[in-house]
Amino acid sequence: MKKNKAWIIVLAVLVIMLLGTISSYNKLVNLSESVDAQWGQVENQLQSRYDKIPNLVATVKGYANHEKEVFESLADARAKMAGARSINEQVEAANAMESALSRLLVVVENYPELKADQQFNQLMYEISGTENRIAVERMRYNDSVKSYNSRVKRFPTVMLANMFGYEPRAYFEAAKGAEVAPKVEF
């Protein structure tokens, strides 16, 4: 009789431990999924920036055709973006594009006729809107990585994470000086 009781207690403890493990495993999966989903949002906005660049370049070229260097660095960054596969490569390409874009905006300052162009103004609003969206989705992505990583690294979830191959994710570090979306003043 006594032996039975002991077994029941052991069994109960095991069941509780198993349930705890399952729930923390599920939490890990959920967090990992939300990191992926949030990265998808970032990618959407990066894509939308990628799509808007040719239009912008065409408009600026109409006024400032000889600023070859800036156009080349934009084209390079765009090619890099197209070839990027891993998240790290994408982040690198995105940052290259960001700095090329901000150089373009500096150049634009020298062309008052361009800044008076209605179509250019509209384009600039679209571009700075996209830049701002990227900044927002990047912030939310980093937040989701933060809560995922802190779970992956904390005991006892760290054992589960190791067992099932859940590794800490990389943050999307913004290029220096690019925390604020570029703004054009008319």
């Binding site: 103004n121 509209q122 600039m124 809107g129 701002n132 900044a135 989705e137 008319f186």
Partner: protein
């Protein structure tokens, strides 16, 4: 001890800054006192809601401190939950005095109807010059332009007892009418309830309802209804445009 008091004071102050709570019964949250008499503007924003179902919050702030107007807007938008969750058809207009900037943040659900270039152009044309003059007229015209655009893009979801009339090919709204008898059944039920209340409780329920709604209208000041605003869980993702004024 002195140190402790300081720490508590700082904590208290930072709480005050963080928790920017919406003013009740109004669409205009003029914390920086930039807008003067906001009665007409509040009314216009309220009819925007009735005609399209779009919630617009207008917030003025004296100082942005160390954040951009873009980050301030996206955070406040999420904190207040403007628009319904999932639909995300909310709008937030932030006017800051230092620096002199204005931004319209569009909820996810309105990014299609209100592209950034449209918003930016209208801010430059209507809002910025009007703010510089110290008048609210441009803001009202801005709301007009937004409403027109939302309706023509087919994103309007008029609230009960409003009716939009479209032209033959459904592309343009030709008129917005308040339906006179849309609520006839509702009104009859209310009349029956009032009758029962007067008959059996001597009008107790009626009196307390009147008192409560009277309070709501008085503190509104702008004359708009006492409906619950915000808190629907709507989100934005940095869409919209900002400009200087």
């Amino acid at each position: 001890m002195k140190k402790l008091v300081m720490v508590l004071l700082v904590l208290l102050l930072s709480c005050g800054v963080l928790a920017l709570t919406p003013l009740p019964f109004t669409n205009i949250h003029d914390y920086a006192h930039l807008l003067g008499n906001t009665r007409d503007l509040d009314q216009r924003v309220e009819t925007l809601y009735e005609h399209t179902g779009v919630e617009l919050a207008i917030v003025t702030i004296a100082k942005l401190e160390n954040q951009s107007i873009e980050m301030f807007s996206v955070n406040l938008f999420e904190e207040w939950g403007i628009g319904r969750k999932g639909e995300d058809k909310g709008l937030l207009l932030v006017i800051s005095l230092d620096p002199r900037e204005v931004r319209l943040e569009t909820g996810y659900g309105l990014e299609g109807a209100l592209p950034d270039s449209f918003v930016g152009t209208k801010l430059d044309e209507l809002v910025a010059p009007s703010l510089a003059r110290g008048s609210n007229e441009g803001l009202i015209e801005f709301v007009n332009a937004i409403e027109e655009r939302i309706i023509s893009q087919g994103d309007a979801n008029p609230q009960a007892n409003f009716y939009l009339e479209y032209d033959s090919d459904d592309s343009m709204v030709t008129s917005i009418t308040r339906l006179p008898f849309a609520n006839l059944g509702f009104i009859i039920i209310i009349l029956i309830l009032i009758f029962l209340d007067l008959r059996f409780t001597g009008g107790m329920v009626l009196r307390s309802i009147l008192r409560a709604s009277g309070r709501g209208y008085r503190s509104g000041g702008g004359g708009s209804s006492g409906r619950n605003r915000y808190g629907g869980g709507g989100k934005s993702g940095g869409g919209g445009a900002s400009t200087k004024w």
